[in-house]
Amino acid sequence: MKKIADFITKFPWLVIVIVIGITVFMAMGAQKIETQNTHDSELPDNDPIVKTIEELEEVFGDKDIVLFAIENTSGIYNENTLKKIYNISEDLKYLDGIIADEVTSLSTINNIEGSDWGLNVEPVLQNIPKTEQEINKIRQSVESNRLLDGRLVSETGDFTVIIANLEEHYEQTLLAGALFELADKYEGPESIYLAGDPIQQEEIDQGIQGDISKLMPLALLLILIGYFLSFRSAKGVALPFIVVLLSVIWAMGTMGHLGFKMNVVTSAIPLLMIAVSSSYGIHILQRYYDERLKMDKSDAVRFSFKKIVPAIILTGITSAIGSATLLVFKVTSIREFGIITSIGIINIVIISCTVIPSMLMLLKSTDKKKKKEGVSVFDRFLLSLARVAINRRALIVSASVALTLVSIVGLMHVRIGNDFIEYFPPNHRLRNTFEKFNHNLGGASYLDIMIDGNEEDAIKNPELLQKMVDFQAFIEKQEGVGYTSSFADIIRRINKEMHEGKANFETIPESQDLVAQYLLLYSMSGDPGDFNDLVDYGYQRAKIRVMLETTEQDIHKALHANIMEYSEANLGNLASVEFGGDVMFWLAQVKYIVSGKIQNIVLAILVVLLVCVLVFRSFIGGLLSIVPLTISSMLTFGLMGFLGIRLETGTAIITAIGIGIGVDFAIHFLMRFREERSNGNDMLKSTEITMITSGKAIIYDVISNIIGFIVFIFSGFIPLQNFGWLISFTMITVAIGSLLVFPALVSYVNPKFMRYKLTDTEETEKTSTTEEKLEPALVE
């Protein structure tokens, strides 16, 4: 430590140049960060659900789509609106990225209609209608076709959608821009709603960009104000602020160089770095100012470095380990978040321990300030807090137990998992769009079921088709299901229309040859791509798409279970069944969030226990240390349960971050406490001294962390808003737990390690160095 201190004081310029070099390298890395486009790689490849999702995509194609919905509250069946539907369908074909042949709308989808004259196979909206009669004809055609009614057009007749398939490589931002432009062009009196992959991804990207451009400056401003209030000097503001800025750049650079992509979870990293790094600079600077009162600049830098850096390193390592426990998650974005945050915290340690001392060496030394003497209001508050902790220890312990028990009740009610759309706040335009789809067209999200007949042409088998019809009828009766669609629907439709549209012929024909001939009939004017998403090329596998009207994951889970049960009981050896679709991805993710979360908490607490056992050389000491952290984690979960905040990717990271930071409080508080006890002070005196030294530091730390974290509540994403509230809540409960529960418990238990008399000089040195950090962080 001394050597490094000497090096920095001797060659401050060199240190600065190296830091600048690394910063430039990191800034280059930060340029490389891309936003994550899909959730494809979020879960382990060998997961059974992920495997079948991929299999379905392989069989039926995995084209991204655009949904372009038109609403006219007085009905779409009028010349103007129909003309718009026609024209938008045509305009979409010209947009780059859209497959012109694969635009589905009233003006493009083939409608098979039988009549006395014969069989009509053409789009409902073949030409723009001019007369009332023509308009009525269109309305009748739609309303009598269950493949269109309630699916392409709402049953109320005031909402319709145009669906466009996209080329494999499209420019998301350009396409989204072109679509929004098109929406503007046709808006009014009709309302236009846009959804689909490029739109949703664009909303996420814009949300992330919005967060970064809005929240970063806000967080930095708040930190600046905090520094100014603490130090009231240019140097006091600039130095820790430089640490914050470099920490953000280094973290983002690490992310870019490691090739990690930006997603909603990892977009929290820059703000998190600001929050965590904000306190590091203060501690070093504070120590320097204290020493500067006694000695000249160079000695003060060297001495304070030696004294404070071990404590900083210990704090950094414990926080980094806390974040690293996120690696137990099998969800990629959470793992990556854990990796970057851990490295980021180590970076913060390196930056604050090099940049501040070197800068102090290079900058002109300001006047030595005198510390104010006397007992402040704040100190008096802390002293009374100490007395409460000791005198009301029974109350504190029983209150903690009671709160923990209450939290367990809440914990039982924590709902798990999340849906993509719930990332966005209520009234977000995408959420409105989804609600419109849920309300009018039977849903915006879906579950896919693949029926595999195990041999070519199996899907043409009337027996299997009939099973599919029954299966669909069963599914449509389940809660949350809008409608289902499959290849069997098409066959029934053709059969009906081949029999002059008689309703009793909306059935599966008995002959397999007839099924084949119906398909041939349809293909007489069909695209090669027709039915691609309903049946595979060899007619071996078919897909049932289940549209869902709800984003409620518990309903999805129940539905999945019911469908599984039904298919096992009824499809027998005729076909095997597999599942896919975006809903399945979220269901699969839930499993990993829950198991990951449990492992994560257990691991984090064990690691903390281990570190504290080592630090205190006492098992009881270790056990004591984890008490406030455990209570605090329980409280956070309890609160989530009572408030209905879900455990998902955003909230899953809270415990690791909370414990990582909270463990520092435990170590500092208990160390100082032990120090005071071993100096022969009684329980109350020790508590009082600990309270106004390390207790005060903890409060300052919590405040500076919360200043950083609270900014998250202004995020454009619900999971990050929740993260902001809950991590702030966690910081406060950990702090209260440390300040009140520790003294109360120690006075009860009076553990042996607390009575340990220090004799070894090295031991004294070590304790005192760590204790240095416990100095009040803020002077005034």
Partner: protein, 264 residues
Amino acid sequence: MKTIFKISLVVISLTTCVHVNLKAQTGLELMQKNNSQISSNDEQVDLTMELVNSKNMKRTRSIKLYSITDNNNNESTLIQFLAPADVKGTGFLEIENSDREDDQWLYLPALNRSRRISANNETDNFMGSDFTYEDIGNENLDNFNYKKTGEETINGVNCFVVEATPKNEDIQKQSGYQKRELFICKETYILTKVKYYNKKGELFKVLHASDIKTIGSTGKFRAHTIVMENLKTQHKTNLLFSNYSIDSGMNKEFFSKRYLEGGI
């Protein structure tokens, strides 16, 4: 419907081939040469159609095609399906009318009845293939501007390159293409290649015709292999022709519902 086997090829007698007019010809003249060679009184041929998707999976159908052209230049077509077994016996009949929409019937043996079906659009695909009805129909030379843009050698065959664009907006609307590039064989006036540009102006389909042989003693040429590939979807259609017979004196009677249901 116009006969499919005329799509890409021009029939030209060996004699005219020898006396090729070496004078510079305009795009329209080249197309007229091409068009005038297509005509025949009647034709029949066996056709195997292979649809190949981007994963190289195949659907194969075998059909027998008959066509006849009357004095008013109206064409009637009868298609009978031979394979796969589940559609064997299915028939399709189209009769072209000068004064009204064409008549189309479809016969499904499993239902044992034929139904009239509505006429197709030019841009509709033919039997789920990569060919649209526009691609397989006879070209109306009045509807397009033809410009000779150069010469190129395709697989050792010297060709003129003619660019075809719709003459007006109405035709543009009906057509699926903003532009086509037609490669016409210098010696036979047969189309050996066509490049299709969509309405965005992107090249998206390419046709290759090969295996060009004379048919019997008629001295007429037909391509026996035609491949249409969609560059956007990577879907491909192979047409394999065999047993061509031209001007064998077919009976107009064949092109009726009776023969549609019973077969010829």
